[in-house]
Amino acid sequence: GLTEKLQSTFKRLRGKGKLSEKDVNAALREVKMALLEADVNFKVVKDFISILKERAIGAEVLESLTPAQHVVKIVNEELTRLMGGEQSKINIASKPPTIVMLVGLQGAGKTTSAGKLAKLMHKQGRRPLLVAGDIYRPAAIKQLQVLGEQLDIPVFTMGDKHSPVDIAKGALQQAKSINCDMLIIDTAGRLHIDEVLMEELKAVKDHIHPHEILLVVDAMTGQDAVNVAETFNEQLGIDGVILTKLDGDTRGGAALSVRAVTNRPIKFVGMGEKLDALEPFHPERLSSRILG
């Protein structure tokens, strides 16, 4: 991992006495490579390295007997700090129902995460209503209905001939009449550059004012994570992120990119296809995974 790479970098420099700024730059170059290979966006890496450099050229590293360990310690601290604390909860509205809306690119894991979130909320004593807001993808409504059946959680649908705005409004009515205190709205996957579909999301937001808009991001996303997160946040505004498919072997650098450009917390991580595979986000775990 990074520690080994840094140790060999500093080994080559031993016997020169105190470390110089040039030596620290060599170490920072190793950190840069590790982050890029972990899929962190190159602009985010640039900014992060300059933050690190300020700390790394202090006496802490230059006079250390174990400079490699010290650099790794600083990197871990800065990464964990950037990732933010744990905020793995849905902010409950003072007046029910709490409205949660899941958005994101095609195939990111929104529908599955909607089911997982409903299960978690139900376990925490809430009465969620799943809302079939994807009127485009073949069998998307059926997919959510199957999940609802598996969970014994109600699913609101108006079929695929009504607009997502009408569906959201209808769901709000239904939630009040069947005494559900939470709406979890599944939306169709869309490109952040699709103006028509981004307008559709804004329209839903304007009509029913969700308390939480969660961006669902695939953990194996590469450099593009920055474009997606930035655009969704600028156009729609997001309150948090669900990072999915973290049960694979991707390093997950997209998480750092998304956090850096939106400053929003990663609230949950998807760790599998089953409906119980939703876990709270642990920043230190993801930091060490990114560093490899």
Binding site: N41, Q106, Y136, P138, Q143, H192, D218, G222, V228
Partner: protein, 277 residues
């Protein structure tokens, strides 16, 4: 890059950022730029435009080596579609069904994802759209049995091509990869040499993990080609350069949207132009 008047370190840094930003990856980017530096020295190149064109040609050459078309040269041609979750396997099969149908071919779909909620329903909608037949069992049935039955049905109905959908699975799940190998083996029992094509679907938004996916799926089912989807977004899919050069897997098709007609043959030159735009 278009306004530079000389070749200097700034130009190389700019090219490095374009490549890294396109998910080409650190190692492949360094190798490419090292090769360009060498050529610039050898050929005494002074014009930055010429250098950039040289870089584009180098990349296109890597990709050309490996690109290939899907030919319907078996009765029926059996095509298996695999990949991790959510990349676009089912949609790509819908697009292929549409393409072959338009070419006057008799197409049969196999609903080989017996696991995910409404996976069979989803493929059924695509079958309806392309006006082709579909072989399906109930949810939870044995995927290998569906594939087997589909090939048997294709032979007896004189289908030209069978498209076999499979459940998405992360390559790190050994038991699921073993299941996939079994599905392939069982297909070979229904027809010798089947499947004739095994297409790995990769999402253009995926970063370096695509390399690991390609490696493990190749080990499990011997990939004959890659379909790179979602190129209609802002992701460039640069990881295919490493895949072509390090693994010799041909990139055959690209997905550029969610509709039936949003499928194109892979064109190395177009791909490289888009990478630099």
């Amino acid at each position: 890059v278009n306004f530079r008047t000389q070749i200097d370190e700034e130009l190389y840094e700019e090219l490095e950022e374009i490549l890294i930003g396109a998910d080409v990856g650190v190692t492949t980017t360094m190798n490419l730029l090292e090769r360009i530096r060498k050529l610039v020295r050898e050929r005494k190149i002074k014009d930055p435009k010429e250098l950039t064109e040289l870089l584009k040609e180098e990349i296109a050459a890597i990709l050309k080596d490996e690109s290939d078309d899907i030919v319907l040269n078996q009765e029926p041609k059996v095509i298996m579609v695999v990949g991790v979750n959510g990349v676009g396997k089912t949609t790509t099969i819908g697009k292929l069904a549409h393409r072959f149908q338009e070419e006057g071919k008799k197409v049969l779909l196999a609903a080989g994802d017996t696991f995910r909620a409404a996976a069979i329903d989803q493929l059924e909608v695509w079958a309806g759209r392309a006006n082709v037949e579909i072989i399906k069992h109930s949810a939870g049935a044995d995927a290998a049995a569906v594939a087997y039955d589909a090939i048997v049905a294709a032979k007896s109905r004189g289908a030209d091509v069978v498209l076999v959908d499979t459940a998405g699975r992360l390559h790190t799940k050994t038991n699921l990869m073993t299941e996939l190998s079994k599905v392939k083996r069982v297909m070979g029992k229904a027809m010798e040499d089947a499947p004739h094509e095994v297409l790995l679907v990769l999402d253009a938004t995926t970063g370096q993990n695509a390399l690991s996916q390609t490696k493990i799926f190749t080990e499990a089912v011997d990939i004959t080609g890659v379909v790179l989807t979602k190129l209609d977004g802002t992701a460039k899919g640069g990881i295919v350069i490493a895949i072509a050069s390090e693994m010799g897997v041909p990139i055959k098709l690209i997905g550029v949207g969610e509709k039936a007609e949003d499928l194109r043959d892979f064109d190395p030159e177009e791909f490289v132009e888009a990478l630099f735009s």
